[in-house]
Amino acid sequence: MRRNQVAVVGAAETTKLGVIPDMSQIQLHADAALNAIADAGLKLSDIDGIATAVETPQQIAHYLGIKPTWADGTSVGGCSFMLHVRHAAAAIEAGLCKTVLITHAESGKSMIGKQPRYTPPSSLNGQFEAPFGVYGPPSMFPIPVLRYMKTHGITHEQIAMVAVVQREWAAKNPRATMKDPITVADVLNSRMIAYPFRLLQCCLVTDGGGALILTSADRAKDFPQKPVYILGTGESVETPMVSQMETFNSSRAFRTAGPLAFKEAGITHKDVDHLMIYDAFAHLPLFGLGDLGFMPHEETGKFIADGNTRPGGKLPLNTNGGGLSYMHSGMYGMYALQESVRQMRGIAPAQVPGAKISVCHGVGGMFAASGTIIFTNER
């Protein structure tokens, strides 16, 4: 895909984040979508492309009253929205549609109008993982961690620092769910969830949503908000079964999506001013730093523990507080994208001064899928 041909011209989250007991999941989609449409200064009738995950495009299009000529229902977990951005950019460039709305919402905490997740017992997951006591992401996502630590020489204290640093970012963000400072000792003494991970190394469970509006870069200058251009993109999928990953020392989906995006963007790691790595659990930023090529995996734990990703550090990472402290409704990728867009617009609560390039990297399932979007505010 060519660089900077498509831009984000509308971006918004739901009016409230956190616990929203008075809205169903589909209404959270609508709340975010209407906020994004207002942000872009558009009318509903201007939208001719729709993308969403979990809910189908027809559900969201019908509920909102949109009549699209392009739809994408890619649903690969929490990074689905990174893939939607990539697909929408290609569709806009190809002339399939002009203005795409991407929505996410999840009543993750209140569970209103939300289908429970279900693993059919005849599926491969149902036959070869479910019988062994996996029960939700906390029992599955951290399974690779001990191997990763042993191979790369990563310590428990270093992984605890991921949560500590992200809480520092969250403290600057009025919309963050958790803002009180924490220490490594707090993390390592918090309630055990699935050894080696404790409560403060697992994401929050909240309600909320977000929406993005994309159009061609040539049209973007006529919109009220500062355009945020799509500089590079990548995606991949590996396996729905965490036990069947090629290796626990790295994520193949990350190693595919990340470098694709860097190559397409034509940038090096030194060019990156701001970085988001989807942190459903505390090990994901380490995997991301290594697999996106910022440094060897052996150095990821030390890099974070040394403070390089904290406010004022040389590589600001997860500046909204992340899934660990900002919010996590179940599919966090949309919130990572929202923070990248805020940083590129220059309006983030914890703004990185002068940031021009933002890398936003997402995971879907338990390392099952991945999407990377590189944004810039210069064309």
Partner: protein, 137 residues
């Protein structure tokens, strides 16, 4: 009885031989006749070269501990926390998820790369699960 509520696999035509194997006390894998790739989970073609000529064979049941979590909460139905959910690497190469029995469910006792051997646990008349225990000797 705790085991009664444990998630129960439902075999498909492609996985029938595996579950017939565990019922007979064998851990059955598949090997590609064309490229010799050994793979899991079961399917009637080779995921390395796409050949449909594949053979089922009994694995040795020897494995090493690749990684694990010790789940505390929330526990899956049929499980009493804390319990380890492990991924083992079979001698033949493939990895599989399992539980480690006859071993304390602690980080001290569950040592990465420790040697393991398969142990079959009957769930009901149709399903026997392949679990693993520390290897003897």
């Amino acid at each position: 009885m705790a085991e009664a509520a444990r998630a129960r696999p439902v075999p498909t035509p492609e996985t029938q031989h595996f579950w017939e194997g565990t019922r007979a006390g064998e851990l059955r894998l598949q090997r590609c006749d064309a490229c010799e790739h050994v793979y899991f989970p079961p399917r009637p073609f080779c995921p390395s070269c796409a050949s449909r000529k594949v053979s089922v064979f009994p694995a040795t049941g020897k494995a090493t501990l690749y990684s694990y979590v010790i789940n505390h909460r929330p526990p899956a139905p049929g499980f009493t926390p804390p319990y380890a959910i492990a991924v083992v690497e079979l001698e033949e190469g493939p990895r599989m998820m399992t539980n480690i029995i006859d071993c304390p469910q602690t980080p001290e006792a569950l040592d990465l790369d420790m040697r393991l051997e398969v142990a079959f646990q009957k769930l009901d008349e149709e399903i026997t699960l392949p679990l693993f225990r520390p290897a003897k000797g």
